[in-house]
Amino acid sequence: MSVHSALEELAKYRVQNRRASQEVFEKGTSVLQKNGHSKMGDEVWDFLEQLALAAIDVGRLDVADQCLRRLSDKFPQSPRVDCLAGIRLEASEPPETALKYYSELLEADPTNVAVWKRRISVLRRMGQTEEAISELSQYLDTFYTDIEGWLELADIYARCNQYDYSLQALSHTLLLAPQNPVYVLQSAETAYTAGDLPLSLKMFLMVVDMTDGDETEFLAESTPLGITVRAWYGVKLCARRMSENPRVVTASASDASPPKHLGLLDELATERLRVAYSSAGQKGDIAQGRGIVFSWVASP
């Protein structure tokens, strides 16, 4: 892989926030060996940071040390490099050492957001969930617009099976990023797990609306792709459970109104899933497990 294309891929990963540590490590070390980083200009520091994180993730701490040395030579006393040094410390020292290091940095500069987040991450990794939750809540009270923080809080609550609190954290995410269908899908699935089926159905249909808005095709001719298929699965699951158990239709914790045409929604979801998994959708592309899907949607 040439240096130029490797650097392009790495830049794309940075933009998309993709972790992909093994690939980043391989491409990054090949660039380092071919000495491509000397011609990069100012982008080389972002590249070194990305490579350092990937190297720590993969377990190659020697490469991470190299990158870290170059970064600290160029930017001494930088809070961003200090945070990276802390992550390197986390990888080889016991977590209490890392916590002490972060506390020192926070005493010196209480507004260092990145270090506060690393502290919360270490607390969570150590298993101290209550402290992690309280620190994270304090952090989010101070810095409300941090979507990552709200997603992390939702994840922590969901791991402890507290889906109502998780849904509350996700509702803040929806306020901050209302146009993102992935967060709506996550909220829909959390609401389904929490038992709030009318709300969950509404949100699955919102995901379909957001992602399947293909103006050039009619619904009858378009194929659901990507997370739209997942949303149609959600609609089918909700419709099935609501028709089996009429009590859950009205027992909504968030007072969501019950759906009016449940049978029609069920039929629509069935048809959409069949289209998604049949070869007429994408040319010559018969999905795996088509028979299983067809028999599942057909059963009452």
Binding site: L61, V113, R124, L151, E152, M210
Partner: protein, 107 residues
């Protein structure tokens, strides 16, 4: 292909019309006559060049890129959206699997 051909013919026609106009103006100057309007066929030729050029340029333009929000969201995966890189844990068991040159192996 057709777009490029039309564009080329439009350029040639325009150059030819320009040459004819230059000819006309230098002819008048040589005979010391007052300014007369450009002959009609030069005018028609330049208008034809304009029409052909517009056609060729529109056919030659690259394909339209998708700029809708929905199409951009289709390219992102759930893992990208859920990355949480500031709060992620970079400590894994990877270092037990990899041979670290220059570092001590765990016993």
């Amino acid at each position: 292909m057709l777009g490029k051909a039309l564009l080329l013919s439009a350029t040639l026609l325009l150059l030819h019309a320009a040459c004819m106009t230059y000819d006309h103006v230098s002819h008048l100057k040589a005979l010391v006559q007052p300014e007369a309007p450009v002959p009609l066929n030069t005018l028609y030729e330049s208008i034809l060049a304009l029409v052909l050029g517009i056609l060729g340029a529109s056919m030659n333009s690259p394909a339209l890129k998708d700029i809708t929000w929905a199409s951009e969201m289709k390219k992102r995966t759930i893992d990208d959206m859920d990355a949480r890189s500031g709060l992620a844990s970079y400590v894994s068991r990877g270092k037990l699997f990899h041979d670290q040159r220059g570092a001590s192996r765990p016993t």
